[in-house]
Assembly symmetry: C2
Homo-oligomer: 305 residues x 2
Amino acid sequence: MNVTLRQLRVFEAVGRLKSYTRAAEELYLSQPGVSMQIKQLESNLGIALFEQLGKKIFLTEAGHELYQASRIVDNQLDETEQILEDLKGVRRGRLMIAVASTANYFAPRLLAVFSARHEAVTVNLDVTNREGLISHLEANDSDMVIMGLPPQKLELEAEAFMENPLVVIAPPDHALAGKKAITIQRLQEETFIMREPGSGTRIAMERFFAEKRAQLTTAMEMSSNEAIKQAVQAGLGLGIVSLHTLELELEMQRLVVLDVESFPILRHWYIVQRKGKRLSPVARAFKDFVLEESGKILQYPLLRT
Amino acid sequence: MNVTLRQLRVFEAVGRLKSYTRAAEELYLSQPGVSMQIKQLESNLGIALFEQLGKKIFLTEAGHELYQASRIVDNQLDETEQILEDLKGVRRGRLMIAVASTANYFAPRLLAVFSARHEAVTVNLDVTNREGLISHLEANDSDMVIMGLPPQKLELEAEAFMENPLVVIAPPDHALAGKKAITIQRLQEETFIMREPGSGTRIAMERFFAEKRAQLTTAMEMSSNEAIKQAVQAGLGLGIVSLHTLELELEMQRLVVLDVESFPILRHWYIVQRKGKRLSPVARAFKDFVLEESGKILQYPLLRT
DNA sequence: TGAAACGATAAGTAAATACTTATGGTTATA
DNA sequence: TATAACCATAAGTATTTACTTATCGTTTCA
């Protein structure tokens, strides 16, 4: 179809007003200008769109069909234009975030606040493991990723926005509970429930103990923090998890944080995205929001045990 | 929106193929040609549609929106083009016919046959009185009109396509039933059930008797042929109607046609349309069909009584 | 590390587009 | 019947469009 949008718009006006002259006025054109557009359109389509009987013009059947079509097309484009207009601002948009599973304990709260402020923004949150996060970054199908340990391989931009203290947890009735300044030495007498190799927490932990030249006994490996906490509660051993995951358990006194020397291991949470990625206004706004306000919103439990 | 269809189509190809170069190949363009169209489009919209990360390109959210829109627009136009293509031929289309109420006894049969031959054609039949037909012609909202007596006032083209004999009817037990060569003189002794003034049949009748210098006694006026036939059957008087309306009654011997001298009054059925009206292919086909084949399809009852 | 793939940019151009004014021919209308 | 309203046509033109080829810079991958 060799038709131009201009032709369709002129045609729509003529069809609506049933007059070349008035359409010309509406469009700030001369009457012959309109005549020519219509003629051109008719010749492009190879079919008559108007019928003139005396002074009045009528749409032919083909004209009626095209009239409907041009209204639909016009509306579609108007609508899209509106959407794009919104997208330029923060008003509307989709925010696609992926977070490490550990971040699941606070990320939803951040998103909830952001989402409440920007009602027309659709938020999409994927909670996944480290591997999943990396593939998100590679496929570029998230606006950004929240994780504790940005991978080195990819070219990324990572900004820390919050502390992420790793602490040693034990059941409340554990021999070490309540003890002050437990040494790392002492810890080596205990057995530990660990995250799976490759997990951010696990990597950080191993790095820490390697530095301290200590070696821990691994009782079992669990692939989620939830599982570790359950196992520790059940007395199967000690655990090391992010303090952020403990809010409830500390409050309910199901678990205690041990006061071990050099602890907590201080890590950070990072907002990560591919280098050079152009953020949408919504993504930009979310990032600013996290960098500036996450501290206020997420007050994690005090370290006092 | 200052967007051109060309831009949308190029954009659609790039969005679909996720590559400027391959889109260029598909469209038989150079790669810079595509680049420029997209750039133009983006600047028209004031928003980025693609994001390039390394070698790969991705649609931005705005790009996704526009992609959907351009597919819708494209489909709409394709569909319309198909419809218009059909309309050029006889395959599809709408046929709007208005017929005089008397023609209601045969017009549906014509339309049924035509409609069976052209399945994708929507047929619209309005059965109305003379006044209604004239307003159809004035408003140009029918393709053509079938009537017995084209009005003089409007500039019309009328073509006769079939005889329309007006006959005198009586109940089977009437004194004149079966009589040969009844004189018009004799008719004046009877009373008649007439159509309302202004009806085509009434006008033709009055013209006929004025010519013969005869005057009929009007018992009552009815606004439909059906009512006249009922009244005649009930013995309220004689009637004059188009032979076409009698098929059933003659066969069931509810009514008889009298053998009156100079009868039947020979009139014709006309296909009528406004002078200069351009017929759609479907309308053209219907007109030809009626002119050529109506005789074959409509064999009305013989005059023998 | 070097070649290949990809998109961006620059410069140039033939063609078309989208108008304009002027004018002519019909058709209603007062 | 004159006039006003309406659309068609003709001729002319500035601008824009839609390309092209040539070239460059970056990224990926063998």
